[in-house]
Subunit: 440 residues, 3 copies
Amino acid sequence: MSAETDVKPDQGSLGQAMHRLVTELYPICRSITGNGLRETLRIVSRTIPLQLHEVPSGTRVLDWTVPKEWNIRDAWVKNSGGERVVDFQAHNLHVMNYSVPVRAKMSLGELKPHLYSLPEHPDWIPYRTSYYKEDWAFGLSHNQLLALEEDSYDVCIDASLADGSLTYGECLLAGETTDEVLISTHACHPSLANDNLSGIAVAAFLAQALSQLPRRYSYRFLFIPATIGSIAWLALNPDAAARVKHGLVLAGVGDAGCTTYKRSRRGNAEIDRAVEQVLKHSGARYQIEEFSPYGYDERQYCSPGFNLAVGCLSRTPFSRYPQYHTSADDLELVRAESLADSYTKCLQIFEVLERNRRYINLNPKGEPQLGKRGLYDSVGGRSDAKSFQLAMLWLLNLSDGGSDLLDIALRAGLPFGVVREAADALVRAGLFALARPVTE
Amino acid sequence: MSAETDVKPDQGSLGQAMHRLVTELYPICRSITGNGLRETLRIVSRTIPLQLHEVPSGTRVLDWTVPKEWNIRDAWVKNSGGERVVDFQAHNLHVMNYSVPVRAKMSLGELKPHLYSLPEHPDWIPYRTSYYKEDWAFGLSHNQLLALEEDSYDVCIDASLADGSLTYGECLLAGETTDEVLISTHACHPSLANDNLSGIAVAAFLAQALSQLPRRYSYRFLFIPATIGSIAWLALNPDAAARVKHGLVLAGVGDAGCTTYKRSRRGNAEIDRAVEQVLKHSGARYQIEEFSPYGYDERQYCSPGFNLAVGCLSRTPFSRYPQYHTSADDLELVRAESLADSYTKCLQIFEVLERNRRYINLNPKGEPQLGKRGLYDSVGGRSDAKSFQLAMLWLLNLSDGGSDLLDIALRAGLPFGVVREAADALVRAGLFALARPVTE
Amino acid sequence: MSAETDVKPDQGSLGQAMHRLVTELYPICRSITGNGLRETLRIVSRTIPLQLHEVPSGTRVLDWTVPKEWNIRDAWVKNSGGERVVDFQAHNLHVMNYSVPVRAKMSLGELKPHLYSLPEHPDWIPYRTSYYKEDWAFGLSHNQLLALEEDSYDVCIDASLADGSLTYGECLLAGETTDEVLISTHACHPSLANDNLSGIAVAAFLAQALSQLPRRYSYRFLFIPATIGSIAWLALNPDAAARVKHGLVLAGVGDAGCTTYKRSRRGNAEIDRAVEQVLKHSGARYQIEEFSPYGYDERQYCSPGFNLAVGCLSRTPFSRYPQYHTSADDLELVRAESLADSYTKCLQIFEVLERNRRYINLNPKGEPQLGKRGLYDSVGGRSDAKSFQLAMLWLLNLSDGGSDLLDIALRAGLPFGVVREAADALVRAGLFALARPVTE
């Protein structure tokens, strides 16, 4: 199987394979620490070589401290008849993530302050967390809540919150240079399919594909708990952080919405222009949004002390679809074809980054005679200019050291591939030279 | 009565109080010099401490010379029956402002070159002036003009044009710093209510309110005759002019139109951004226009040799409402609620200027852990980000020394007050420090 | 006859005179070399003094080599009945330009690879060239092609391709300074009226008009074969190229479409602003397009090694009208009034360039008192500001050394002529001084 077929396999089967991974991971109760997270990373490591790191509870990371490790075995609210009216086994969103252990009998009135629901979506269970304040609660559908009668309830959260460690997974694919492309996805959400698992699946399959391709850049994939994970990584890996030239946070890449890209804090970094170029020529609807400091782990990568060129790729942005952070973010919300499409766009983005170069036109006075080099139609007078020839003219005109291929493709409105091929032809014809050596 | 209640009194009563001042000033025949102007300033000085300056006729001020002082007692055109067919006592717009004295008998044919009217508004008297060329004329409604028959007319303008002085009023409210905010309004128009008196009333009440509030800046209020007044002030007060950091010309702030702001010549000065921020979050329609060198006294403040950061605030811009410079610019055109709204917006603008600062994020690597400082919800997962938390995230992300609170509020699309409160919270938490000392 | 009447003659008769020149030149079979080109330039030289240059075949010019000279006397395809079914005498587009000589008998099947037509316009003959690859072919209407029967055809192209020279015409009108305005038009197309002859006619009449006017700039008119001609000129005249401060390529300036301007590669050069200013105030529709490296000889002038401030003026841009490069680009497509309008707009553009200057306001503090200098209405209060007075205010406000008259006219939205007259008035009043001497 050649590298070529790895890059562009049948999208149908690829999407289905990613959806199968999402399906396998879906039931696990993940959190920002604990065995659910470890099991998830171990399953991912069947697809790609993943190094698991453990950061002990109490470790100072930037302004934060790694919290105690949380593990949960079971949880329920039983009525006086012994029936589980709220049951962690039925859905792990029934327990507020990081709930402290509890075992008590209480009236409905005592219980209610520990229950939360979504009146506007009465069949859905909301997702809540309390990582940094010790508390406990149960989530349930609003219909479930309304059905609760006055009774004596047996309440149990069989969990532990104790010193342990925070786990994250890392896969580094070394390239010709030590300049890095960072792909980061959070892996800390329990049974939420689009917000979490879609990013894990696409990132894993991207790493698998890239591992078989020649790479100018090194690629670092991070599967981390949100916020504390990226903060821990940044704190513990300052040298690697300094090598990041481009980066993408992947999150919510499996729903049916169009692709959305949120620019890096820099706003017009190479990654921002590369994504814009790919989306512009994708033939599909897309939206590009300005940076804002609210969202996923780009918040940390783009904090002013790092200011990395990291944007965020998603489909419908977080919180703008009703199923977000509820039990309705399930296996039906995530579609195989959306996963495959997100995957393909990412590979195209990496291709642009890999191939983007700055060239110098060695013959800047007048156009060189392309025809004698076999690069131009010998019959003149036709009114249709071919895009390959247009690309050469744009390249010759703008390659004075100030613009790279991506700049030129964006200005010319041409696909990057055509511009790159035209640049290759000009190099072969001796008309173009790389402005800088490949390895800096 | 606390400062707080001074700033935001009941808008209804405040608007009515300003309208009463407009009503009191309306009958006076003002001009760029003379007793009408002095009387106006004396009435204003009942509301605020106003220093009256007299600049003698003949004084050279920049490229100009202070003209002779003009005073008028009476004026009429009587028909042969002794009836006043044009009567200064009925409306002071009946005489061209700065008309030289005249006492003559003449035919209608001899009189007509000295009459002007508005055919398109046959019931309105137009406003005309001839400050710098000695001439005389009567304004009258077009219907009045049409009704004049061949007759021998007795024409009288009982006025004097003689050496005297130009008067202007000044109110300086010293602040913590000698940096100044300049508020300038013209006070030279006779019975015109919106174009003149509305600005006087709002400026007077703003000075009264600010006098009772703590002030970082010093505030200088000028009540001056248009053009020659600002030129005289600039000529005679170069040191004060150099201290002006921000300024507003107030004119036409009482009609029912939406608020209009004309930017300073600098275009993006702090005053320009402050006004834009306030109008954007006002919930009301508004328009912002680019600087042009035609208009009110911003023409002088923004001349290239001064180039002060002074914009112009009005409602419907001058000359774009039909009543402009006619007897229809009367007490009904000016509305109490518009005066109150203009006043409130100005106070909000000053508040932004007072509170705008540049901070440094002392913890620029990653987000600081806001939760442990009580600044962030402990329960995660909700999809609604509160504007206070958003404001903190924007502040932390952008406070690297390059942006002030106003820049951040504009970029984040958040009200200034929320951003300022969030900055205060970050200062209290030890996460933020002022980028520069309060007093420069 | 005064210079004034030369500049603005009756547009009707002028347009007709240009159309007569187009009509006279139309039948000649031009190419990038040869006697058709020479004859064309000789006819143009009856209107203006034109220096003809001959560049020998084989001369290296930048990356190119001047080709052999091509001349054609006759060409036909005769059927077995001796009838000319394709006849160069009927239309010179019937032969592919630069076809090598051929004399042969052949079947329809053998002939067909050498025939081209336009199925979508079955009555039109397409225009084709093969300058740099030796080949031969006949163009014919699609209906002609369909009517050809199996037969033995007598095929003849009585042409020569041999060492000779490339001819171009040059007319330099010296001005007060050696800074140059370049006007370049291609002269190499055979019977195509808009794409070629319209530019020749307008350029010739512009040169005639300018020759009789005072000129600050020197004007250089080039009548050249496309691409190879501008490349030869640039190669052989580096000093003149360095003196070009502004330039226009004229092409396709005679059809009924609105005026289109394609910006120079610099994008905001003085020529770009001058054309925008003229078109904006022309009262007619127009379009302005960004630079692209595909088009006419601006491709060469704007190559990065020269980067001259040369834009391209046309009406409907090349290839966007169906008649482009076909026999339907004929004498009816070109209209006298469009030629006259293009001519007039060019003269207005030159007028802007000639008159554009940078002034310094000598009285920058406050407005100077224009009234005492007779430059301002003595009667105030009117709401209509005249454009001349507005122009003075804009000039006074912006002439601090950073803006020239063109900048100010564009910002003020006023016609250039009004701004220039206002500047002259300010100079006469002693308020303005030229920022730089006329001759640099």
